[in-house]
């Protein structure tokens, strides 16, 4: 009798473990099994099976939410099932590598935030650069310079004056993250010093601004949109080319409009998109392009953008590459100068931003 109980117990325990262990691998098995026939077929008839988009971050993050919205619409346009798979690890490079390892046939698509995506080469995570991909840019979430509603800084001008006196503390998600890069860009165009206070993530940095521990937070619009709408935080300027309308009543002025000297700092922020390796067959790329454009124009994406306070981009091809060129210059050099990136951007022909 006792034996039976022991065995039963072990079985339950081991089964529980098996469930835990088996989750990640299952996702990665599928695309490897491909016959040559299918490859040939792909040129005329694509897609003939399920498509997988790899989000290299946890569910619920910016990349994940954007991708799922786009994927739903693209699957309607392509009349195929698109699975979104989360493969987090090593700043998103593990999932991106998985796309490179899979056959380059458009059945495995990468999704990512473009700041980490362009920095993998200088960080030493991946050997290739963003130039080795076809990239589609869906949405853009700008940095917003925000302060507590009771802050003494009522507009961007007074804040810039205080910045020049070197008295302002700025809370970000940490060195090399979107918020830090945003404020660095503003700093380099206006030439001031600030007290950089890094937090463990965007959320704690925003809370610090909310509680008044730091004076300013330059995190992404997406991360604090509801705080801005409810008026708990006040957006002094957005790093956008035009004003950022976040609700019917509230529009955050563009930094370029309120501080013209800082015009070259905009646009700055995180953009989210999808990508396939450059050597994917042209026919497939065209089909993805078509579906992507349909998705971008859909109501669902519009609604998502409105809710999250992001701007719909819809860039592809050369336009996307140009956008990334500019972003890479800023991001890679900021990371390199801050000591986060070990490999010089020069090695990958990424010039310093003017």
């Amino acid at each position: 009798m006792k034996r039976v109980i022991i065995l039963g117990l072990c079985l339950i325990l081991v089964l529980g473990l098996a469930v835990g262990c088996s989750q990640k691998p299952t996702a990665s098995v599928e695309p490897e099994k491909k016959s040559d026939k299918e490859e040939a077929k792909a040129e005329v008839d694509w897609p003939t099976k399920d498509i997988k988009i790899i989000v290299p971050w946890n569910p619920g993050g910016g990349t994940d939410l954007t991708t799922r919205t786009i994927a739903d619409e693209m699957s309607k346009a392509l009349d195929a099932t698109i699975m979104v798979v989360n493969t987090p690890g090593a700043s998103g490079s593990i999932g991106t590598q998985e796309v490179l390892n899979s056959p380059h046939d458009g059945y495995t698509i990468a999704a990512n935030g473009m700041m980490p995506f362009v920095s993998y080469s200088v960080m030493g995570y991946l050997k290739n650069t963003y130039r080795d991909w076809h990239v589609w840019l869906a949405t853009f979430s700008p940095n917003v310079i925000a302060v507590n509603k009771d802050s003494q800084y009522k507009d961007m001008k007074t804040l810039v004056d205080a910045f020049k006196n070197g008295e302002v503390s700025v809370g970000t998600a940490g060195p090399g993250t979107g918020g830090h890069i945003g404020i660095e860009v503003v700093r380099s165009s206006l030439d001031f010093d600030y007290n950089h206070v890094p937090y463990g993530g965007g959320n704690p940095a925003i809370v610090a601004a909310l509680s008044g521990e730091v004076d300013v937070t330059p995190q992404l619009s997406m991360e604090m949109i509801d705080m801005l709408r409810s008026g708990d935080l006040k957006g002094l300027a957005a790093l956008t080319e035009g004003p950022l309308q976040i609700s019917e009543e509230i529009a955050i002025p563009s930094l370029a409009d309120v501080i013209p000297e800082a015009a070259k700092a905009v646009p700055m922020g995180e953009s989210f998109g999808i990508a396939v390796p450059k050597d994917t067959p042209k026919e497939v790329v065209d089909k993805i392009d078509e579906a992507f454009k349909k998705a971008i124009e859909s109501e669902a994406v519009k609604k998502f953008a409105e809710e999250k306070g992001v701007v719909v981009l819809g860039y592809s091809g050369d336009k996307a590459q140009k956008f990334l060129d500019k972003l890479a210059s800023v991001v890679c050099w900021t990371l390199y100068d801050a000591g986060n990136a070990k490999i010089s951007p020069e090695k990958f022909d990424i010039p310093r931003a003017e």
Partner: protein, 499 residues
């Protein structure tokens, strides 16, 4: 309006698919909680991806069920094996295992799960009634306070677990704090104590350390002891259990409130909630010396405290969209995934969500209680199994548990290394719990102290000008001074004098 929301939520519960989902997810949560190495955070993260296509109500119900289940499940392995299933139940093991050794494992689990249930219910009341107020309180915690809270946690844990010599507890705690500093630092990603080793640069993962410290010594001990004593299980009556709970109802409520407070402070979670309530229970008890010897109140306090954190951690999610603990962070991501937007606009846009969530939590807690009673009927028999047969099985589970966290073999080596460390600590009478808490709170203490100094430009002054900060400094000083022989002597004199 409110009653309408509550009725709606109750109706949703009665839909068969939802009810079955709750049953399965709580059961899954309990299993995850019981197994060392599988954590609440992991279970919720796993489920979040899986539930994307499911209707939001059902998905949220399953996530809440797993959350409540996994935080409570940890107590079973803590009580029966002295190996906490999750870091949150480390405080439960202190008295729980002694209770089980007396043959009262069933009663121990009953007390633990019942107080878990009550802790969750108390936290739900706090969610409904006090969300705006408590959010303000949470915002009062800045970097200065976080550092002192972390320090306070390690100091009281050292004090509580070391019996008569607190110094040993503190030494163990400081070792833990040191271990936590290995790897890339939290502010500037500068590698510390990593000797250019890529694995060490990634840092020492918590779970392998926990499994090593607690699991390994138990496995070895089973083979070292000469006598082969198999425990008898004394049956207990539920009414007896309820009587004990009733007697300690003040402890339950106090622990519940402490748990809620700890839960709402972002970054501090279930693990420290259990210890703080345990400390409060011991301080207020008339029979302090029985704590650590299998006192029922110890188990009740720890479990009510850690489960109340569940509700506590949800409060800042609802009001600020900021999670109060690691599993709550994953839960918030799941809410977003299902198109729910908790935060400052929630009460305006989707007020029903608050009540729905509270009803789901209550249902989850209730289901957890029922399932735990059923499961414990089987799990207590673990005590009857010959340790030399049981422990190799546990050892395999420990090894696998250490591996699955990051799927890297280095964590298994870590488990062995800390297992040997744990063995020596146990032999020399150094408690392992402060070591573990040191590893948990090390990053928090380190980054917040340095962030505080960045904010104040190197000045220590703010530590002595902020009210909550002073409160913690005084508490820490009192705790440390009370252990000095000089003060102890003075106290005796005073008592004599009074007589």
């Amino acid at each position: 309006m409110i009653s309408q929301y509550i009725i709606d939520a109750l109706q949703q519960l009665l839909i068969p698919i939802n009810f079955i989902t709750l049953l399965i997810s709580v059961f899954f949560g309990l299993l995850v909680g019981m197994l060392p190495g599988l954590t609440a955070t992991m279970a919720i993260a796993l489920l979040t991806g899986l539930t994307y296509r499911i209707a939001p109500d059902t998905a949220i119900l399953s996530l809440v069920g797993v959350y409540v289940g996994s935080i409570s499940g940890g107590c079973q392995s803590a009580i029966l094996l002295n190996i906490p299933g999750t870091p949150a139940s480390a405080a439960t093991a202190t008295d729980g295992f002694k209770i089980a050794k007396r043959g009262e494992g069933g009663l121990g689990i009953f007390l633990a799960t019942t107080s878990s249930f009550l802790g969750t219910v108390i936290s739900i009341f706090c969610i409904i009634l006090l969300t705006p107020l408590l959010t303000k309180f949470a915002l009062k915690f800045g970097s200065y306070e976080f550092f002192l809270l972390a320090l306070f946690g390690v100091v009281i844990c050292g004090n509580l677990t070391s019996g008569d010599d607190s110094l040993k507890g503190w030494i163990s705690g400081i070792l833990g704090l040191f271990i936590a500093q290995i790897g890339l630092d939290g502010l500037n990603s500068y590698p510390r104590f990593s000797f250019n080793n890529i694995e060490l640069m990634g840092g020492i993962t918590l779970i392998p350390v926990m499994i090593g410290l607690f699991g390994f010594p138990e496995v070895i001990n089973a083979f070292m002891k000469e006598e082969k004593q198999i425990l008898n299980i004394t049956k207990f009556k539920m009414t007896e259990g309820f009587k004990i709970i009733k007697k300690n109802i003040v402890t339950v409520i106090r622990s519940g409130l402490i748990g809620v407070m700890v839960g709402i402070i972002p970054g501090v979670g279930e693990d420290i909630g259990g210890w703080l309530s345990y400390w409060a229970a011991k301080t207020n008890s008339k029979a302090k010396e029985t704590f650590g010897q299998g006192n029922y109140e110890g188990v009740i306090a720890a479990e009510a405290g850690n489960n109340a954190c569940v509700g506590g951690a949800i409060i800042p999610i609802l009001s600020l969209a900021v999670p109060g603990s690691a599993p709550a962070a994953v839960l918030l991501a799941a809410f977003w995934l299902h198109g729910l937007r908790p935060g400052p606009l929630m009460m305006k846009e989707t007020p029903y969500f608050l009540y729905q969530l509270c009803i789901f939590l209550t249902a989850g807690a209730f289901m957890m209680w029922i399932l735990s009673q059923i499961i414990s009927k089987f799990t207590v028999r673990v005590l009857q199994i010959n340790k030399q047969i049981l422990m190799p099985v546990i050892f395999v589970l420990c090894t696998v548990g250490a591996f699955v966290i990051n799927n890297r073999i280095f964590d298994v080596y870590l488990m062995f290394i800390f297992g040997i460390v744990g063995l020596f600590l146990a032999k020399l009478n150094y408690p392992a719990a402060p070591f573990l808490l040191g590893v948990i709170l090390g990053p928090m203490a380190d980054t917040n102290l340095r962030r505080a100094l960045v904010l104040s430009k190197g000045s220590l002054k703010p530590f002595f000008t902020r009210p909550i900060s002073i409160f913690f400094i005084v508490l820490i000083m009192v705790l440390i001074l009370s252990q000095l022989n000089f003060v102890k002597g003075l106290k005796k004199e005073l008592v004599k004098g009074a007589k």
